[in-house]
């Protein structure tokens, strides 16, 4: 059997990014994917005839522009198109509209609270300061704070200098606060209006098994503001053709460097001999050989799933078992026969092109979390709904629409037992009812709906408990602690074994940074020229 230079397990966007950079450096790279399609959670699938479902990740804002450009993804077919607008509907029949025009937004906020409209300026500046600090480290490998290696000390100096450079503008104490406090406390420091707080607060709980008043959720909000679409910081866009276009473009770029992808190739085990990786064995018995094996799988699945415990230090097994990768989200994807109307909104409003929410206070959000703690899906869920077909004409036939609903919260198990199909359908119905509360014609327009609970997400794409970030984005497992202390630099516990998924720094979202960072570390170990770009300097 042919021996490759490197094998990457999992054709998610980070696996493909990692593979592309290794191949670009001249390595002979094989990517193995368990499904018959590539992409992992960046995927577009035709689940209803003529409708493309971007059925896992659904919007694109964090993808690092440096990587997009460096791997020439536009030439390989990737188009990211920003969308404007956004609405939070209120139970009293009113709404808050999130206009992209700054002054229009101010006027809309002032309709709910004059003071909040003004406080938003302070909020915006503070969030920008914090994200600028984080952004600088996205395409860098975190230093190991317990190491005396020169490279770690140097990187600690970079970190220290960045913090020092902030001077009194943002002192590091504030930064620590933002990284550890709850999104509810964070927003309470700026705003008085329930609806404004609710509109902004949702991003603090997306993908996270925590409530708006749980410590650590303020960082999750910052995490969602780290991206930019063409220099508009915090902006989000659709990928033309659905999120699968990200994976397809990465795959095309990878192949242009001579890379090879095999689908329907589920890895059973990473093979280790004498403390070194030798390759991987598939479930069907096929073996592939390489000195470098990179896992794009989540940390639990990597160490507890496809590695033999005998090959691992106790420490790693223990940490992997304790790694927090709790399922808390669901997804409902809907094919629509036409555009649903939302009577609360003015006719023809540009707000329709953005994200819709139906939770108008942090209290309701917290209650939604209470259901999760009790082992139930939220009866009054927080839903992040978008209609990509108002921006992207490729997702449905002309005049028809596709709706994506991301739902918080949805537990990995119902009251401690496995999900049943009936549970799943009840969950789907709850979400549909939530939207229908604000759109009387919505239900009649539904042609097909795909309901995904953590059960489906784990079974189909291998995210443990359906956790969309491959592990929660709480401070205890971020930066050099991601996935666990001592393993924050993409190297596994066995020589030749690496991690490149969202379980590593800087975490989840379709960012491609973990994959790129891992490639850089591998190339350093191989003493090859680095092919991974540095991040754009913030200005």
């Amino acid at each position: 059997m042919k021996k490759y230079d490197a094998i990457v397990i999992g054709a998610g966007h980070n696996g493909l990014t990692n593979a592309a950079y290794l191949a670009k450096a001249g390595l002979d790279v094989l990517v193995l994917e368990m499904n018959s399609y590539i992409g992992g959670a960046t995927v577009s699938r035709e689940l209803h005839k003529d409708w493309k479902y971007t059925n896992c990740s659904y919007v694109c804002g964090l993808l690092r522009p440096e990587i997009n450009r460096d791997l020439e993804l536009p030439r390989h077919g990737l188009q990211v198109v920003p969308y404007g607008g956004g609405v939070t509907f209120m139970e009293n029949g009113d709404y808050y509209g999130n206009f992209s025009d700054h002054n229009r937004q101010h006027r809309e906020m002032a309709r709910h609270s004059v003071r909040d409209a003004n406080a938003y300026e302070r909020y915006g500046a503070d969030v920008t300061k914090q994200t600028r600090l984080i952004r600088k480290f996205l395409l860098r490998t975190p230093p190991d704070p317990a190491s005396w290696k020169m490279s770690d000390i140097k990187e600690m100096m970079v970190l220290a200098k960045t913090v020092m450079d902030m001077k009194t503008d943002v002192n590091f104490g504030d930064t620590l606060k933002y990284w550890t406090k709850s999104v509810g406390d964070f927003l309470d420091e700026y705003f008085e209006s329930d609806i404004i707080k609710a509109h902004l607060g949702g991003t603090g709980i997306i993908g996270t098994a925590l409530g708006v008043y749980s410590p650590g959720t303020a960082y999750v909000l910052l995490h969602h503001y780290m991206g930019d679409v063409d220099g508009t910081a915090g902006a989000w866009g659709f990928t033309r053709g659905g999120m699968g276009a990200v994976a397809n473009a990465l795959a095309s770029s990878f192949k242009s460097f001579g890379g090879e992808i095999r689908t329907d190739a589920k890895v059973k085990q990473i093979m280790v001999r004498n403390g070194k990786t030798t390759g991987v064995a598939l479930e069907d018995g096929t073996e592939f050989y390489a000195d470098i094996v990179v896992s794009n799988l989540e940390a639990k699945r990597t160490f507890l799933g496809i590695m033999d415990e005998k090959d691992l230090p106790e420490y790693v097994i223990e940490r992997a078992k304790n790694f927090k990768s709790r399922g808390s989200s669901g997804k409902v994807n809907i094919a629509l026969d036409g555009l649903p109307t939302f009577p609360a909104l003015p006719k023809g409003t540009p707000l329709m092109a953005g994200d819709f929410h139906f939770t108008d206070s942090l209290t309701r959000m917290e209650k939604a979390y209470d259901d999760w703690k009790d082992g139930n899906f939220s009866r009054d869920p927080y839903v992040d709904t978008l209609i990509p077909t108002l921006t992207d004409p490729t997702m449905a036939p002309p005049g028809k629409h596709m709706m994506t609903c991301f739902v918080q919260y949805c537990p990995p198990k119902i009251q401690g037992r496995e999900w049943t199909d009936a549970d799943r359908d009840a969950f789907g119905q709850t979400v549909i009812d939530q939207v229908a509360n604000y759109s009387p014609d919505f239900k009649d327009l539904i042609l097909h709906a795909e309901v995904r609970t953590p059960r489906e997400i784990e079974a189909e794409i291998g995210l443990t408990e359906g956790n969309i970030f491959q592990g929660e984005l709480t401070f205890d497992q971020l930066f050099s602690n991601r996935p666990f202390p001592g393993y924050g630099q993409y190297r596994g516990p066995v020589k030749g074994m690496y991690m490149c998924g969202s379980s590593t720094h800087p975490g989840g979202g379709v960012m491609a940074a973990p994959g790129a960072n891992a490639a850089r570390e591998i190339l350093i170990d191989l003493k090859r020229n680095n092919t991974v770009p540095e991040g754009y300097a913030d200005d």
Binding site: Q79, V81, P350
Partner: protein
């Protein structure tokens, strides 16, 4: 030569002329943001320039093109005349075809660039940036042609973007999908005639629609009704400028000085010097500027047009271009971030000794953030370009989206 008629009563009253689409475009211009395009009032931005730009790249964008200067050139010598006027071989532009060209003065310096529409036997339309009828008339000495400025007699829309063909098909323009790039065709429309050319200034799939002003509003209404399901929206000149830079199109009076406007010696450029040497055909009969251009071809040019792929994301507007030793060798004429190509592009003029494809130069970029200025010496590689060139631009028939 005078204009054939003054159609709009308001022409004498107002500072800027309203185009025949004004009732429609003004209703959609939420920002009330207009530009002065050769005396016409045309949208700069309707509601969000960024989304307008992305309509061109992902949906369909519509722009009022009426102010484009248009001349009707007819008569038995029309072809010979145009062949004398412009640098490319006009005999190769068959009836039903459009050709991009430049024309020069006798020193071989570019007067303007534009398009020639071969409408029928002995009948052409020349679209230009400049008002150039004076030059057209001087060049017409000895030719049996009639030249009429028909700028106000023709209302025009640019319909650009991946769903543009679907929009036109939905409007009932049968067979439009078979129109090849740079082709033109006509359809009966509301008792008159609608001309459609597969042309544009965006580098994407796109068409331009031409009708008499009386049919303009009907055209707009039918187009927008048919295009609704293909996510049609209007775009202004701001979005156009983003698209054209990404598509590698130079702009008169921005990337070169039209020769007639030159006051200071040496500020004009030849076609070779603005990257349009491919439009000069010495194998055809005599044309304006031929002698000078032939001499330039033998002796070499003074300047070279470069398209630069600049590292980082700071636009290189008004920048100096340096060689690797730090010597100033030229300047940037247009620059900007390319939102679809994810590239930082600049067009520049450099000393002809420099600027081979692949050469690494330096662009001196200044940018301001919160009243703080920063200088960047950005690595800039000369590329062939364009930065964005989707295959759908050339596909016939185009895909539905």
């Amino acid at each position: 030569m005078s204009e054939v008629s003054v159609q709009q009563a308001n022409d004498r009253e107002t500072m800027l002329i309203h185009t025949p689409f004004h009732s429609r475009s003004s209703a959609l211009n939420k920002l009330n943001s207009w530009e002065n395009w050769k005396g016409f009032m045309v949208a700069h931005e309707y509601d969000d320039y960024e989304l307008e730009y992305f309509a061109i790249r992902s949906q369909t964008g519509v722009m009022d093109l009426t102010p484009m200067t248009k001349y009707r050139i007819t008569g038995p010598d029309a072809e010979a005349y145009l062949n004398r006027l412009v640098t490319r071989d006009v005999t190769k532009i068959k009836v039903g075809r459009v050709g991009y060209t430049v024309w020069c003065n006798s020193d071989g310096q570019v007067m303007d660039d534009g398009t020639i529409f071969h409408l029928a036997e002995d009948e052409y339309r020349l679209c230009s940036y400049t008002h150039c009828i004076d030059w057209l008339m001087w060049s017409a000495e000895g030719f049996d042609v009639e030249i009429v400025d028909e700028t106000k007699q023709v209302a025009a829309l640019a319909v650009q973007g991946p769903t543009s063909c679907s929009c036109l098909m939905a409007m009932g323009l049968e067979g439009i999908e078979n129109l090849k790039p740079f082709g033109l065709t006509t359809f009966p429309f509301e008792g008159g005639e609608l001309m459609v050319s597969r042309t544009g200034f965006t580098g994407d799939l796109g068409y331009e629609l031409w009708v008499e002003p009386a049919l303009a509003e009907a055209l707009w209404d039918q187009l927008f009704a048919a295009g609704k399901q293909y996510l049609i929206r209007p775009f202004g000149l701001y979005a156009l400028d983003m698209a054209r830079k990404e598509a590698g199109f130079i702009q008169a009076a921005v990337d070169f000085v039209p020769a007639e406007d030159q006051v200071r010696v040496g500020r004009t450029r030849s076609p070779f010097e603005i990257g349009l040497g491919w439009l000069v055909d010495f194998n055809k009969p005599f044309f304006n500027g031929r002698k000078a251009l032939l001499k330039e071809k033998e002796n070499g040019s003074r300047y070279r047009f470069v398209m630069l792929d600049i590292e980082g994301n700071k636009p290189a507007n008004n920048s100096f271009i340096l060689n690797k030793k730090g010597k100033v060798i030229g300047t940037v004429t247009s620059a900007g971030w390319c939102p679809s190509a994810k590239a930082n592009v600049a067009f520049g003029q450099v000393d002809a000794k420099y600027g081979e494809i692949g050469e690494e130069l330096i662009t001196e970029i200044y940018y301001e953030r919160e009243l703080h200025w920063t200088k960047v010496l950005a690595k800039s590689v000369v590329v062939k370009g364009p930065m964005y060139d989707p295959p759908r631009r050339r596909a016939t028939p185009p895909a539905p989206f």
